[in-house]
Assembly symmetry: C2
Homo-oligomer: 132 residues x 2
DNA sequence: CGGGATCCGAGACGATACTG
DNA sequence: CAGTATCGTCTCGGATCCCG
């Protein structure tokens, strides 16, 4: 009966090895993809529902074509976003969140909400610093 | 009885104005400071308790002096981090989280925990993509 | 419409040296 | 010890053009 436990142990050991505080850890790159300048906004934007490229681009105000494409590729590689190509003319590509993407986006939205609620305090703190 | 509501409305309007989806919104810079490459790790690192400069630098593996100083300055300006200078020799500077910093770091740690738990799935997704 | 390819400037980042 | 200053590298990110 050691087989199931061995798998358990391996998974736990792996989870420990993913500590973001360690240099050269793969979880850092994921953290950067997800929380990066556009990654967070794209995830949050897709949480409102699936969207096509230019539709999503309008949701995330200010993102260039290049960065949106690049961000979507990262998120797709990491398994947060699903990309569905419809072979029609003109081409249609649908982007949606995977289940993992949804749960991640939920965390992110909660975090963003919290940040936005603190914005007045942040702006006040900035004003105080300026006067020094 | 319109006075209290006016204040309410103003606060709600302000919160709306901080929507991260809007370009040129101050909340975007805060989001970037907090979730940026080092910002997130520094906040998470300080959540373990106050620390001095080099002590903190050891907690956040791989950060250079320059980036740590820069990150701490951003976070201090935004009111997440408190900087306390002790006028002794050799100089001692203590960094700690403000209450706002603590609540933000808590959200962040929850988010990081969630991400780390998903790492096996992420790595598997990456492997699948490579084979294409 | 949904991108890929390319160019280019600005800023991020790290290593090192120096200071109070 | 806690930074600042300087420098070089390298990536980010926008603009533009192009293709299926």
């Amino acid at each position: 009966m050691t087989e199931p436990n061995a798998a358990e142990d391996e998974r736990r050991a792996a989870a420990f090895a993913f500590d973001v505080f360690a240099r050269e850890c793969p979880s850092r790159s994921v953290l950067e993809h997800v929380t990066g300048r556009w990654g967070a906004l794209v995830l949050a934007g897709l949480r409102k529902g699936p969207a096509r490229f230019n539709s999503l681009r309008r949701r995330v105000d200010g993102v260039s074509e290049k960065m949106l494409a690049q961000t979507l590729q990262s998120l797709e590689r990491d398994g947060f976003v699903h990309r569905e190509v419809l072979a029609v003319l003109p081409p249609k590509v649908n982007y949606s969140l995977t289940p993992m993407g949804e749960s991640t986006a939920d965390h992110l939205l909660a975090f963003i909400d919290h940040l936005e609620s603190q914005m007045p305090a942040v702006l006040e703190a900035r004003r105080r610093q300026e006067q020094v």
